[in-house]
């Protein structure tokens, strides 16, 4: 099949848009998913905990 310029243009103008929208929605859901809240909170505080500068067992 010959993929010409017009085909590429229409694909990027339609599916390109939808995939980016779908992707953004996915990211938003992940970010604001209630049960992730605690994980994120711990992650951001934990890097400041550095008792003995050694890997954990």
């Amino acid at each position: 099949m010959d993929v010409d310029h017009d085909t590429l243009v229409s694909v990027s103008k339609s599916w390109g848009l939808f995939y980016l929208i779908a992707f953004s929605i996915g990211v938003l859901i992940y970010t604001f998913w209630p049960s992730n809240r605690k994980r994120f909170d711990k992650a951001k505080k934990n890097i400041l905990r550095d008792e003995d500068d050694k890997p954990w067992k």
């Binding site: 992707f23 934990n46 003995d52 500068d53 954990w56």
Partner: protein, 552 residues
Amino acid sequence: MVKQLTSGERQFAAVILVVLAVLGIAMAAAGRADPLGVHGLIVLLYSGALLYVVLSSFYEREPDLSLRTRYYDDPIKVGIALTMAWAVFGMFIGVWVAAQLAWPNLAFDAAWSSFGRLRPAHTTGVIFGFGGNALIATSFHVVQRTSRARLAGQISPWFVLFGFNLFCILAVTGYFMGLTQSKEYAEPEWYADLWLVVVWVVYFILYIRTLARRREPHIYVANWYYLAFILVVAMLHIVNNIAVPVSLGHAKSYTVWAGVQDAMVQWWYGHNAVAFFLTAGFLAMLYYYLPIRAGRPIFSYRLSILSFWGITFFYMWAGSHHLHYTALPHWVQNLGMTFSIMLLVPSWASAGNALLTLNGAWHKVRDDATLRFIMVAVIFYGLSTFEGSFMAIRPVNSLSHYTDWTVGHVHAGALGWVAMITFGSLYTLVPTLWKRERMYSAMLVEVHFWLALAGTLIYVFAMWNSGIIQGLMWRTYTQEDTLAYSFLDSLVAMYPYYIARAFGGLLFLLGAIVASYNIWMTVRYSPEALTDRAPAGPDQGPLPENVTAPAE
């Protein structure tokens, strides 16, 4: 370095280096008088020198394997030394090329020192040499600390570090001989490109394997940025550099891309080099060293995730703004323009997140020059992304393109953002890594800060002025509808700005030299931090092995 390796690992290191040396001999034999032959010789010398280091400690006592429960910091230390060496080299060449633009005689009539060869030596030296080594060194630090796990390899971190530096050396020496693929920021020829692919794949595997060892349930966001940097740079590098060499005994190659596709691939690469080499990894530094230095967690972790995905997916489509008013289809230019403007949102989200983290700690910013480096970096990040989005608008670009405005923008980003965040991170990292109480001289950090800030401001203002004057002169018409100024007129108008720019650059270079001295003195003379930590082992002793005793 070598003392840390078991005898099996020492053998393995020696084998790798012998293979590399044989490759060098093969290149030298195939290339003969061609620059490829010279590069073969350089590969041979480089691997020979490293082999000497390995062999001279080959039969030393085996290391105490219980030390392997510690973090692996030696490669980071060497990486920091290389970072500073490249900073001084790259910035020196930068000041030199800047001076050549004001006083062309400074090329001294030699081919190797002409502007066209020194300029890529400057960009490669600072972007890959200075920036790349800083990224590798800090990524090794951040991934271990945030994962609470040791690097997943004894030899591979060294392979990544020295392999990458070999690439940089091949690149820069190639330019001096007149070698280039004529692709901006991707000038090195095919064999250096192939070598970088090998190095980069090892880097990626090492990073992933270290993350897999992590003891923290969640992968801290800084690692996402480093990983994006590693993964995307691999993609960009491979696609943009697909080329066919004239023959295996020749340094010269031809790209497989043709015409406008070539231009698009090149600037898809070029812009994402800005995004993933010059931004993503440095944002990783920001998200780790800023909270550490300020002693407070990042303002909003969720915002950092949203801006991560925003930056990753918007940047990908922005490259065509480098090709406004070209043969590139109009809709592709529009696409790049639109995405560039949208990019402002995640960019400012990161900048705002960082500034809000500092909110409430402004007294620390006032007192601590290191934290001030980080804060100023954030401000320049916000500034240069705003400027970039603005310049990406087609009519604005018609004024800025081909002028010094672009150069001003680049250096607001490169000096103000990339270099400042690097120095802020290094001043945070060096004392902890060498277990020192603090940097040797807080005063010198302060001096460096003001040199860097003054240098950046002089540089950027000179180029903004010069660029806009240039752009306006080129589009001024007389009443008879002819151009009012010749190109030469605009060149004469640039003269004072070029002198100012060289001076600003000189200040910045002096700052980097001060930093190198301060880091060196910290390693050698600063008192050890008083802690109740376990007694230091060889990889954490008071002196790193590559430093001799003060009595010398």
